[in-house]
């Protein structure tokens, strides 16, 4: 069943529609929600929604309870290649829990919250932006880690990043739901404006693993679920550009690197010179790598996770 949760008139004969697909088994009361498309340029979740939708419908007898799929919380952005909510100046993932008496987007956020609150689990799928490629990972606010990390381990990702509680992140969908005791996991993977099928397939497997763990799925789940690295077992290092120029990469995403390895060069094509050799400060895994070649001083180039040595 497809249900429209938001229908608002745009100026000229068009409705702004936010819709979800509800797939229900014959028995069971639990509800898991898959949401994506808050940022219109993050498309990795589109494949996950499609594939999960297809597999659930083909194997509906194995489902207990309901899976609800929201492929586009920001439909205008997804359909017009815009990260933000068109004609609005705030990041849509910074206005939650919204305001039922507020402006259109705040009102939308409030309605989305109302629809999701009470679910047994929400998975909010993001895919970085057009500048950075991310290893499949779950991001968890440190305050929520004791509750969420055990579930995050089920999702078949490579990494779980337990990050600090920044005040500004309190306005995200995930935080707003978590403080209302609706458990929400944020998945980051891939790169903006692209679909990485391998990552999508892995997450779909992880979601079935989660459903199985919640007692909502009787079908088979591969036993090849990845045991992810946990950020609290090591340290995350940020590498920012120290020169403005063009990046020539020397390593691939998700590679293990050693301290001193060349990650990339920042070059000046006009002069034909190397401006900066970017080397790894540690032994570790490159879990974030810049994919867009133009950088300014300060642009994020890579994030490396180094595990504590035994």
């Amino acid at each position: 069943m497809i249900k429209t949760i938001i229908s608002e008139s745009l100026p000229v004969y068009e409705k702004l529609l936010v819709r979800k697909k509800i797939i229900s088994g014959a028995t069971g009361n639990k509800r898991v929600c898959i949401v994506t498309g808050t940022h219109g340029d993050e498309l990795e979740g589109q494949y996950v929604c499609y594939e999960l939708n297809r597999l659930l419908q083909e194997n509906i007898d194995n489902l207990k309870g309901s899976v609800e799929i929201y492929p586009a919380l920001n439909p205008l952005g997804v359909d017009s290649v815009k990260r933000g909510f068109p004609a609005f100046d705030l990041d849509m993932n910074r206005i939650f829990p919204g305001d039922s008496h507020g402006h259109l987007i705040e009102y939308m956020a409030s309605r989305i919250m109302d629809d999701l609150v009470g679910a047994d689990m929400v998975i909010d799928i993001h895919s970085s932006n057009i500048f950075l490629r991310e290893m499949p990972q779950v991001r968890v606010n440190v305050d929520m880690a004791p509750v969420l990390v055990p579930y995050a381990r089920l999702l078949n990702t490579d990494f779980i990043w337990v990050h600090d509680a920044a005040t500004v992140l309190e306005a995200t969908l995930a935080h707003s739901l978590n403080v209302l005791n609706t458990k929400t996991l944020v998945v980051e993977m891939g790169v903006g404006m692209r679909i990485t099928r391998e990552y999508g397939d892995r997450l779909v497997t992880g979601i079935f693993n989660l459903l199985s763990n919640l007692g909502m799925w009787d079908g088979e789940v591969p036993d090849s679920i990845v045991n992810p690295m946990l950020s609290t077992d090591g340290e995350v290092h940020f590498l920012n550009a120290e020169a403005s120029g063009v990046i020539i990469p020397a390593v691939s995403h998700s590679m293990c690197v050693l301290k001193g390895d060349l990650l990339c060069q920042i070059v000046d094509p006009l002069q034909g010179t190397v401006l900066h050799n970017v080397v790894s400060p540690v032994d570790g895994v490159v879990f974030t790598l810049r994919s867009y070649p133009i950088v300014y001083e300060g642009s994020l180039i890579a994030r490396i996770f180094s595990q504590k040595k035994e």
């Binding site: 608002e8 008139s9 100026p11 004969y13 920012n240 300060g298 994020l300």
Partner: protein, 308 residues
């Protein structure tokens, strides 16, 4: 006056990006004034340019009081202004959501850090700010309720209103919020418009800044005392939203006195021209904000009415 570069950044192919500051007087760091932080804040940049122009004249006449230093930063983001973008030219991030900044972080965090490290040294911080919705305001001073705000000081601008509002989580990265947290008395001046220059409201804004400097005994400047400001909060306002989408036939402007039941606007069918809905005032009051685009979506904030 001393003109200096507060931050510089090389670009792969564009000219060097520089944030420039204008310092007047010597002594205690009294007031820092920041103009446009977003690329569409043309009104704010214009106002700042007029403040610089006036301060140059005042300084030439010996009108900067001894022992006071004033810093004016007219533009923090002309890299975006020059290419008609509101946010940072490269990655579309908002510098005004990066404070207090981080000198080893992303580009816009570094810009924010450089500006903040200068401005936070001053006793008072004034930002020429803009609203996230397209429209016009009654010029006013805005502060966030951080517990550190001083509305009596804000009344020295002589603006009709001092607006105090509750901060939301995403406000914690704004310049104004961080200045208050770091012990600089911070004021945001809303000067009517953003991406167009409206000289009457711009003049109200730049005169209000000069009035504040005069009342704080920082400059010698003769001007009328301005308004006896009313302090308002969200509780004193009623929001009127569009009940349908269409062509907005707006019959009301900011500063209009209205009565309950007055017809404020019509929203028209964009094909047939028939009236789809009438927007009627729910109360007596003054229009504080009026949306000013010709097309409107359902649930858009059309007006804010001060009801006190």
């Amino acid at each position: 006056m001393e003109r200096e570069i507060i931050f510089r950044l090389k670009s792969p192919y564009r000219d060097e990006f520089q944030v420039q500051g204008f310092r007047f007087g010597k002594g205690e760091k009294s007031v820092a004034i920041v103009g446009s932080i977003r690329g569409d804040e043309v009104q704010q940049q214009f106002i700042c340019s007029q403040i610089v122009k006036n301060l140059i004249e005042i300084e030439a006449k010996g009108g900067i009081k001894p022992g006071h230093e004033i810093l004016v930063i007219p533009s923090v983001n002309h890299f975006s202004m020059n290419i008609n973008k509101r946010f940072w030219a490269m990655d579309n991030t908002d510098i005004n959501r990066m404070f207090p900044g981080y000198d080893k972080g992303e580009t816009t965090q570094r810009i924010a850090y450089a500006v903040f490290e200068e401005v936070r040294k001053y006793k008072y911080g004034i930002q020429l700010a803009s609203f996230y919705l397209p429209g016009e305001f009654i010029p006013h001073v805005r502060m966030m309720n951080t517990g550190y705000q001083d509305t009596e000081l804000a009344s020295y601008f002589g603006m009709p209103y001092v607006m105090v509002r509750e901060p939301k989580p995403y406000d914690t990265a704004l310049l104004n919020y961080n200045l208050q947290i770091f012990n600089t008395q911070a004021f945001s001046i809303y000067a009517g418009t953003t991406d167009t220059i409206h000289k009457p409201s711009a003049k109200i804004a730049w005169l209000s800044v000069l009035r504040f400097l005069s009342k704080m005994d920082i400059i010698d400047y003769n001007c009328h005392s301005g308004y006896n400001s009313s302090v308002i909060s969200d509780d004193h306002q009623v929001t009127v939203k569009a009940t349908c989408g269409g062509i907005l036939y707006n019959m009301s402007r900011a500063n209009d006195e209205i009565k309950e039941g007055d017809l404020l606007a019509k929203i028209l069918d964009p094909y047939t021209g028939e009236t789809l809905c009438n927007i009627v005032s729910p109360s007596n009051g003054t229009l504080f904000f009026s949306y000013q685009k010709p097309l409107i979506s359902e649930h858009t904030v059309l007006y804010k009415i001060i009801t006190q």
